[in-house]
Symmetry: C2
Subunit: 279 residues, 2 copies
DNA sequence: TATTATAGTTCAATAATATTGAACTTTGGA
DNA sequence: TCCAAAGTTCAATATTATTGAACTATAATA
């Protein structure tokens, strides 16, 4: 049984005759006969009675008709549902680094939700040590993260959304305290912090590792130590003066990137999200 | 898009891989690739992301999956519904002559209904002058009727269920009144009545045409005239003595027949009905 | 870091099947 | 009685589905 035979069957019933159906569908009449013979063989019973030159549905044919119609209707519907995905919809799972999630994405997500309400958006925090794995397994469709500017792993397609800088901040601009508050090792910019410290000859300074950017920031505010953080995380406190840049400190370049698996199909939802990101 | 491709698609998702699906379905792996390429072409979007050696459903694929499953499930269901028609069901329309409908069929219908409750049985009265037409148009699936024993029209398959006789009845057995109560001309046994009258030299006797057997019987009972009727219509009144056979009258042979179009497929319901009829 | 095994793709050859036209059958009207 | 219309059959042909072999890319392993 194949869809084409079901379509033939339905057309015969609609137009009341093999010949008309053949004309409608662009087949030779004998093809119509063949289609129906196949169907009847598969079903094991005749579906038409050949009463004189009239074709009349048998009881089996009558029972089968609604099934055939439903199947063909579903077929058409499925095509439409997939093809006419003008309006992004369905699930979209984005992995984001914790800091971006807090300081940058909320407004973006809000805009995206307003524009594409049919997309079921899920945000997940990413594991920096297994980004490729997460993208490959389909755990997340794309990732947004802060990385060094040379970020470009094979297997992934990356895209720089925005450049930013790591800035050395402290509660009191005059001093560079002995304690450096840092993120964990798997954090993407942690190597840059280490490089910076080496650059200023402070590679042996004591470090306190804290689990989140927000924890580090609050601790810096209390004077517990200082830290290298992306500017977008500290902008507001710089303006208010609660945090200040260490004098003569060097800034390190970082970028906000999107990343996805290179073979991944970019769905309409995904494209929409990337567009909102870039605007 | 063909059913076979949908089955392949579903199997791939279930077994998680082209190779396993190929094994399961008895295809070469390249056939699986071809199936999915066809599907993707028809839908206009990829349905799998080739992430490394893992095949992961795309968003479009995820949306398509439930459609595919529903279509394949319907396909299986339809086959089952048609093939496993062990239990007769569906519509069955029987045409019957008015007399049989009244005196013979009620108990048969009752038995049939008890045995096959799923069949929606419809009884229609037949037009004797257009029996073939009714059978051909699908107005009725089969007819049950009283006919002369040589009843055997081309185009129809007939079957003698039971022999019966036309019996010349009257309210007073001693006399044969001047008035003959007869059915209309299109009635199947009317010619036999005419033949009988000719046989007994009464071909010019006066006739009153009445529209139904029941009307004739009641009229005979009142002494309005006499009539030739099938025994099954008058049995009870013969036993009670209210109707009596005319002395030395000849009986005419008739039969109760089923008739259906010769090309008509005998559905399980129909077969069941015929079996009940013959028991 | 090679090496190997695994999973999927490509492509040309082949097997399978769908379609067709021509001749035939049956039926319903002129 | 003959003709036209509708469907069937069947052999020829066109199309398509399937396959095996060579190839690519990736994951595992040694």
């Amino acid at each position: 049984m194949e869809l084409r035979q079901l379509i033939t069957f339905i057309t015969i019933v609609e137009l009341d005759g093999y010949k008309k159906a053949a004309g409608e569908l662009g087949y030779a009449q004998s093809s119509i006969t063949a289609h129906m013979k196949d169907l009847e063989q598969e079903l094991g019973t005749p579906i038409f009675d050949r009463l004189g030159r009239k074709m009349v549905l048998t009881e089996a044919g009558k029972k089968f008709l609604p099934y055939a119609e439903k199947i063909v209707r579903l077929y058409a519907k499925s095509k439409e549902a997939i093809q006419n995905t003008t309006e992004p919809s369905g699930q979209l799972t984005i992995g984001a680094s914790e800091s971006l999630m807090i300081y940058w994405l909320p407004t973006i997500i809000k805009r995206f939700r307003e524009k594409y309400p049919l997309v079921e958006l899920t945000m997940k925090s990413i594991q920096y040590d297994n980004l490729t794995g997460q993208l490959k397994k389909g755990d997340i469709d794309a990732a947004i993260l802060v990385e060094t500017l040379n970020f470009n792993p094979t297997e992934l397609v990356t895209n720089l959304i925005k450049k930013d800088e790591l800035i050395h901040v402290t509660a009191d601009a005059a001093i560079m305290p002995d304690t450096m508050l840092v993120t964990e090792y798997t954090c993407s910019w942690r190597p840059l912090v280490e490089e910076y410290l080496k650059g200023v000859g402070k590679e042996f300074i004591s470090r306190v590792e804290l689990p989140s950017v927000e924890a580090i920031k609050q601790s810096v505010l209390c004077g517990l130590g200082n830290a290298m953080l992306p500017t977008f995380t500290v902008e507001n406190f710089m303006k208010s003066g609660d945090l200040q840049e260490v004098h003569n400190s060097k800034r390190e370049q970082v970028g906000i990137f999107t990343a996805m698996h290179k073979n991944k199909w970019v769905s309409p939802s995904m494209r929409a999200f990337l567009e909102v990101l870039e605007s």
